[in-house]
């Protein structure tokens, strides 16, 4: 299995978790970002989401996932990292992103996994589009400013 990638297929967190398992690791933390059945609009009102999908600048997104994962792994002294993001339509309740991190002790696994998802939301060129009953729109994202 490739540890990092972009796919239009459902994500398999068990496969990622198995991939990072290691005899030197005492902890495995996984994160799944799942699509919610409602979403706050620009005025912070929650509206029911009918469908949503993701568009990626594929080659750059895959490179960014690898850089983010490996930098976080080194910074936290984690053992292994795997991270995939999905594109195309994602059904409500399904995962758009899956991360797995193993490390000797649990603190680093939690911190590393958290850093990875935070950085993905800042700097991986992927965009979410939501369709509501009354229209559809690109989700306002992170523009790179601090």
């Amino acid at each position: 299995m490739e540890p990092y990638g972009i796919t239009d297929q459902p994500l398999d967190v068990a496969a990622l978790s198995a991939f990072v398992a290691d005899p030197a690791a005492g902890a495995i933390v996984t994160f799944l970002g799942t699509s919610r059945s409602s979403s706050a609009d620009a005025t912070n009102v929650e509206r029911p989401v009918e469908t949503l999908w993701y568009e990626a600048y594929g080659p750059m997104a895959a490179k960014r996932l690898r850089v983010i994962g490996e930098e976080a792994r080194a910074r936290h002294g984690a053992t292994r990292v795997a991270c995939w993001h999905r594109t195309g339509e994602v059904a409500i309740g399904e995962a758009s992103v899956a991360i797995a991190v193993s490390s000797p002790h649990r603190a680093e696994a939690f911190a590393c996994c958290r850093d990875i998802i935070d950085e993905i939301k800042r700097s991986v060129p992927i965009w979410k589009r939501e369709r509501f009953t009354d229209g559809e729109e690109w989700v306002e994202g992170y523009d790179g400013s601090e």
Partner: protein, 81 residues
């Protein structure tokens, strides 16, 4: 020189195309290219200020000088994860 431009998400919607080829003076910066794009695609004008650029698949500051044959992506605020 010529650069290839890729538009994503709301930038693609506004440009009306997903790729473009732009003829621009040698050594032009990303900022100069963005200014040109705003003229070529007026509907892009109000979304460009929030967009970052990637040159050959890596983020590039607006001051980056471009070279012939490079690919510049126009990246609206990202919302993956």
């Amino acid at each position: 020189m010529r650069v290839r431009v890729l538009f994503f998400a709301v930038a693609r919607d506004r440009a009306g195309v997903s790729t473009d080829t732009v003829e621009i003076e040698d050594g032009a910066t990303v900022a100069a290219l963005f200014a040109r794009l705003a003229v070529m695609h007026p509907a892009l004008k109000d979304v460009l200020p929030a967009c970052r650029a990637a040159v050959d698949e890596a983020f590039a500051p607006h001051a980056t000088q471009l070279a012939d044959g490079q690919t510049v992506a126009v990246l609206p605020p990202v919302s993956g994860g």
